[in-house]
Point group: C2
Chain length 139, copies 2
DNA sequence: AAACAATATTGTAATCATTACAAATGTGCA
DNA sequence: TGCACATTTGTAATGATTACAATATTGTTT
């Protein structure tokens, strides 16, 4: 499925900017912040506005075409992969890594927990990533 | 265990402000924001500064005497209950609810996942809480 | 193809939670 | 008592995000 099809599938009218931002999310599985998306695209799209990036990412999240990760208190990360999976946040380098979903399979199908209507499941881990751990042990 | 003992246990020198803030966290399991803690205490402690609340909560988190919940992108919530449990965030009323830990028991003991050093486990759910769901269905 | 309405994008100016910082205060000990 | 150190305080930044109004784009109707 290409980018335009994906947008349409989620009820999003494709535009040059929306295609570029979704394209970036799909090809860069780095869980970028809005600012990182803007910085990556503004060279090839000099007229791109940061507001558009924010608006567009918000639209994607509202339409469930992307996930908003509030894993870091400094800024929000976005994930174009909406399949059920977990995350690891490194407090040293600030990167977000994907992990296979760590919960019980049953849980993923539950629409209610203790009477609350569940719309999103977020499982994440914080610590020091493999690379940063290895660097640290060299010191 | 009383509040002062708890602070000392976590290597935190007790002060009037620290005791009051920890006391508040222990007796109000509402996962308050820094501002909510400040608002709740400033009447009985007129000289309390918001900076102190922020500093103190950060100290608690650093010393692992409290948890920082980045469950909401608007502001950070704090939890005085550091035992392993999950959370539910209601996107309607903004409240945070406790849930029993939803993960696998084994997982809680793992210090590494795919080579990353795990320091914190965060499992949370987003949606509409029981109370808000019931209110909505009356309309 | 012009005219129009609806939608999307842009730039700038707020907002507001959080932090930096330096002055003031409090605490413990020689 | 006085001095070193830790803590608290108030104010002024910071910086991510949003509000808003102007501009541009798109699709539709004649």
């Amino acid at each position: 499925m290409n980018t335009v099809e994906r947008l349409v599938e989620y009820g999003i009218k494709p535009s040059v900017q929306r295609i570029a931002i979704m394209e970036y999310l799909m090809t860069h599985r780095t869980h970028p912040t809005a600012d990182e998306v803007y910085m990556a695209l503004c060279d090839s799209m000099p007229t791109l506005s940061k507001t558009t990036v924010y608006n567009t990412l918000k639209l994607f999240v509202d339409q469930q075409a992307a996930l908003m990760l509030t894993i870091n208190d400094k800024n929000v990360h976005f994930d174009g992969d909406t399949s059920l999976h977990s995350h690891f946040f490194c407090r040293k380098c600030g990167r977000v890594f994907d992990l296979p979903f760590s919960g019980k399979k049953r849980e993923a199908r539950e629409l209610q927990i203790e009477g609350h209507a569940v719309e999103e499941i977020h499982h994440y881990y914080k610590g020091i990533c493999k690379e940063c751990s290895e660097k640290e042990s060299l010191v």
